[in-house]
C-alpha cells in the first residue's frame, strides 16, 4: 500500500475533466463551449450552466486574457506551501470569456500587477502536472 504524499496536492480525476488535463499535457488550454446556446465556460461540467444542455464541446483557447484580480499569500495554508510563500494567485479572464484561478509567473509578490493587465498562457510543469499559469504580455 502506498502512503499518500500529503505535501503534494492533487486534482480530482474524472471523465468530465480528463480532456482539460489531457489538453494541458499537450501544451493547450481548452475550455467548454455549448453547442446548444454558445455559452463558454470553465471549470469542466457535464451540462451547460446557462441552458442546461448536455452538449458541451472542448475548444482550444487563444491563450490570451486579462487579469481580473490577484492576491499574494504570505501565510502557508498547507505544508507544501511553506517554502513557496510569498506567491500570488490570480483570476484570469480568457479572451473567449471563461474565467479561471491561476498564477502570474515572474511576479511572486504581485509587484507590477494591475487589474486589466494583458496576460498570456505559460504552461508550467509543477506537482507532476502541466498547470495553466500566465505571464504578463509586457514581460
Amino acid at each position: 500500500m502506498s502512503i499518500p504524499d500529503v505535501t503534494r496536492p492533487d486534482i480530482t480525476r474524472n471523465a468530465t475533466n480528463a480532456p482539460y488535463w489531457s489538453a494541458l499535457s499537450q501544451g493547450r488550454l481548452d475550455f467548454q463551449h455549448c453547442r446548444a446556446c454558445g455559452h463558454q465556460w470553465l471549470p469542466a461540467r457535464e451540462n451547460c450552466p446557462n441552458c442546461l444542455a448536455a452538449d458541451p464541446q472542448w475548444q482550444p483557447a487563444s491563450g490570451r486574457g486579462k487579469l481580473v484580480s490577484w492576491v499574494v499569500y504570505h501565510k502557508a495554508y498547507a505544508p507544501h506551501l511553506e517554502d513557496r510563500v510569498p506567491y500570488n494567485v490570480a483570476i484570469v479572464e480568457l479572451a473567449e470569456g471563461p474565467r479561471m484561478i491561476s498564477n502570474i509567473i515572474g511576479h511572486p509578490e504581485g509587484q507590477g500587477l494591475y487589474i486589466g493587465a494583458d496576460v498570456e498562457l505559460a504552461i508550467a510543469r509543477d506537482f507532476g502536472l502541466d498547470l495553466p499559469r500566465f505571464r504578463l504580455q509586457s514581460d
Partner: protein
C-alpha cells in the same frame, strides 16, 4: 412581516475559548438563557432551527440539538447557507409561525472553531488548490483588491471599519477580543493574504447563541413588553464562486436589502444603527453601499470622516461584531440589535427605533437582511 412575528428572548455564552466543550452543550447553555429571557417553558418550543456548525457539518444535526434540549418539536432542522443561515432560519421560522404551524421557534448556533477544528477556514478550494488557492480569507482578499483598485481606496478607509468594531468590542466584557485598535497599529500589521492584513480579518471563536421567536399576539398575551418586532426580512444568493462572477463587486446584497426594506416600509435614512456582518472589512464597505447607505466607493471615506461610533454617521457593530465580539457567524449581531431595541445595550444608541442587520456567507456567496423595530 411588519411586526406580526417578534423576537421574544435572546441568550449567548461568553465568546472566545471553550476548550474541551462540545458545541451542542454551548447551544444548550445559550438556549437555556434565551428561553428564560422569553419567559416561556422549554416544552413550549415547537420549532428548533439550527445553523450548521462550520467546523463540522453533519447529518441530522437539528435532531441532535433537539435531543440535547430534550425536545420533540413539530419542526426541527439544520440549514447551511454559510453565514447568512441565521437570518435564513429566522425567515423560515417566521413564515411557519405566521402560518400557524408552530408557536415558539428556537434559532440557535454553537461551535468550537477556535479550540476545535478551524480547518474549514483554511480549506483547499477544490481543484484550484493546485494553484495555491486555499482559505476562506483568500476570496475576500480578491474582492478587497478589486475594491481598492476600482475606487482608489486608501488603507485608512478599511481601517475605519476595524477601528470602530475593535473599539466597541473593547468595551464589551463578554467579547472575545477586548483590545482597541489604533490607525498606526492597523497600518503596521502584517499582510496575511495581501491586501488583507490581520486586522481586516474576523476572529475565529468558540461560543453559542440563541433566540426565541413567537407571534406578536402571543408575546402580548404573556405581557412580554421586551419583545422586538421583525419588520422586514430579505435574501439574495450570489451563488457563483468569486472568480466566476462577472463583477467581483456585485452580489445579491442589493436585492436582499430591497426585499427587506420594501417589507418593512421604512425609509433607509431612518435606521438607528447597523449590525453589519464584518467577517472582513471590505464586506462592511460593500454592504453599506449595497444597502444604499453610502455612494459606491465612499463608505470608507464617510466612516473615516463622520465615524461609526454612537455619535457618528451610523452606529455600527455596537458590541464589537465578528472583528472583536466573536467570530461566530452572525447570531451575535442579531442579539445585539435586540438589546439595542430594548434599550438594554452596553453601548446604547439613544432612542434606537429601527435596527438593520446583515448576514452573509461563503465569499459573499449568500446574503440575508433583517430589519427590527423597537420593543413595546
Amino acid at each position: 412581516m411588519q411586526g406580526k412575528v417578534v423576537i421574544s428572548g435572546v441568550g449567548n455564552t461568553v465568546y472566545g475559548k471553550h476548550p474541551g466543550r462540545d458545541r451542542v452543550d454551548l447551544i444548550v447553555e445559550a438556549a437555556r438563557e434565551a428561553i428564560a429571557d422569553a419567559g416561556i417553558e422549554k416544552a413550549e418550543i415547537d420549532g428548533v432551527f439550527v445553523k450548521m456548525a462550520n467546523s463540522s457539518p453533519t447529518i441530522l444535526y437539528g435532531q441532535k440539538v433537539s435531543e440535547a434540549l430534550g425536545l420533540q418539536p413539530a419542526i426541527g432542522c439544520a440549514l447551511d447557507q454559510g453565514g447568512a443561515a441565521n437570518i435564513g432560519l429566522m425567515t423560515y421560522a417566521a413564515l411557519a409561525i405566521d402560518a400557524g404551524l408552530i408557536k415558539n421557534a428556537l434559532i440557535c448556533y454553537g461551535d468550537t472553531a477556535r479550540t476545535g477544528s478551524h480547518a474549514v477556514y483554511h480549506r483547499p478550494r477544490g481543484d484550484d488548490a493546485i494553484m495555491g488557492w486555499y482559505s476562506t480569507a483568500a476570496g475576500y482578499a480578491m474582492i478587497h483588491q478589486a475594491y481598492r483598485e476600482r475606487y482608489k481606496t486608501p488603507d485608512e478607509h478599511f481601517a475605519a471599519v476595524a477601528l470602530a468594531a475593535r473599539n466597541h468590542g473593547a468595551q464589551n466584557p463578554k467579547a472575545h477580543l477586548r483590545l482597541p485598535l489604533t490607525m498606526d497599529a492597523y497600518l503596521a500589521s502584517p499582510y496575511v493574504i495581501e491586501p488583507l492584513r490581520r486586522d481586516d480579518m474576523c476572529l475565529v471563536s468558540d461560543g453559542g447563541a440563541a433566540l426565541v421567536m413567537t407571534s406578536d399576539g402571543d408575546a402580548r398575551r404573556r405581557g412580554n413588553v421586551r419583545a422586538v418586532p421583525i419588520l422586514g426580512m430579505g435574501q439574495g444568493q450570489e451563488s457563483w464562486e468569486v472568480h466566476l462572477r462577472p463583477d467581483l463587486l456585485r452580489t445579491k446584497a442589493v436585492e436582499s436589502a430591497d426585499m427587506a426594506f420594501a417589507q418593512a416600509k421604512i425609509d433607509r435614512g431612518g435606521v438607528s444603527f447597523a449590525q453589519i456582518y464584518d467577517c472582513f472589512t471590505v464586506t462592511v464597505l460593500q454592504t453599506l453601499e449595497d444597502y444604499g447607505l453610502a455612494p459606491r466607493g465612499q463608505a470608507g471615506a464617510k466612516a473615516l470622516a463622520e465615524g461609526l461610533g454612537l455619535g457618528g454617521w451610523l452606529p455600527f457593530n455596537t458590541s464589537g461584531g465578528l472583528l472583536s465580539e466573536s467570530g461566530t457567524p452572525g447570531l451575535q449581531l442579531i442579539i445585539e440589535a435586540v438589546r439595542q431595541l430594548r434599550n438594554e445595550a452596553l453601548l446604547q444608541v439613544n432612542g434606537a427605533s429601527y435596527g438593520l442587520i446583515s448576514n452573509q456567507g461563503g465569499s459573499m456567496h449568500t446574503h440575508a437582511t433583517l430589519i427590527l423595530g423597537a420593543a413595546g
